[in-house]
Symmetry: C2
Subunit: 156 residues, 2 copies
DNA sequence: TAAGATTGACCGCTCAATCTTA
DNA sequence: TAAGATTGAGCGGTCAATCTTA
């Protein structure tokens, strides 16, 4: 289907442009609402949400980076900021002295609970608002295919 | 369907996370390939591509900003950089002396032609690769609904 | 008074280099 | 020698302030 030295057809280009534009608007809106209402960027929220799913010991930095699709250095910088803000704390890794854990503080957990309301509301309203269960399944499968097609590269 | 004080269900959350992760991977890959092969960021490419669709006079800065979903100031900064690189030139607006036009130079047009190959290849391979025409229509309609739900806010 | 556009300070992200332990 | 993680310089984007013309 696809080859070097080739050009997108009209339907393909329009699909991509619709996806690009809508996605930028959605991410920007979500980021803005989280900043306004919880003083958190979308990237910060993604990190806290991941840590909220982990147990009380938190997660290894590398796992946190992988699960958010952030680079290692970005994860280090962002976690450092969240530590300064009091939402996250670091812990040594008992089994591998190169390793480092990040975990939510009580304050981080509270902040996450509040921010989740904003986050879920924006996603429900603007992304999922016009979709039924079938639409969601279609979108999810499409996106899983995209991810499968790309997985394996990332690092830092 | 959606209200404040509410939480995403499993299917909804998984749909969003699949979309978020795949989109980040795709945008990062596209940005990386454009930088490697054409020395252009994805944002630069979006601007050049829009100018490439305009006539030889180019576009007003505001129209360029709106069509790329960038803020006005970001558009100014980015166009300034592209002018320095020789891909874009500025022109005065004859009918409104507040206005400013940006247009491709010959070099910009050449650069766009090359970059378009990379751009289209990545999109065709990783986004559209596993879709048929119906899938594309579904995705496009979903994304148009998202955009409609968000349109009207942006400025700077 | 508002619209088009720009400016500069600040901040987060990327990249390459570095450090430490496996 | 490689893996986990961090560091700091450089750069692009945001935001608020500003300038000019409508």
């Amino acid at each position: 289907v696809t080859y070097p030295g080739f050009t997108l057809r009209t339907r393909e280009l329009e699909t991509w442009l619709a996806y690009l534009g809508a996605t930028k608007l959605l991410f920007d809106e979500l980021d803005r609402r989280l900043r306004d209402e919880s003083d958190l960027s979308l990237a910060d929220y993604a990190l806290l949400a991941r840590l909220g799913d982990a147990d009380e010991w938190g997660m290894r930095m590398t796992d946190l980076a992988d699960s958010t699709v952030f680079s290692r250095s970005r994860t280090t910088h962002a976690v450092d900021r969240l530590v300064k803000l009091g939402s996250v704390e670091r812990r040594a890794c008992p089994t591998d002295r190169r390793g480092s854990y990040a975990a939510l503080t009580d304050e981080g957990r509270r902040k996450l609970e509040t921010a989740r309301l904003t986050h879920d509301e924006v996603i429900a309203q603007h992304l999922l608002g016009s979709m039924n269960a079938d639409d969601m399944d279609v979108l999810r499968h499409q996106m899983e295919a995209v991810r499968a097609s790309l997985e394996g590269g990332r690092s830092d």
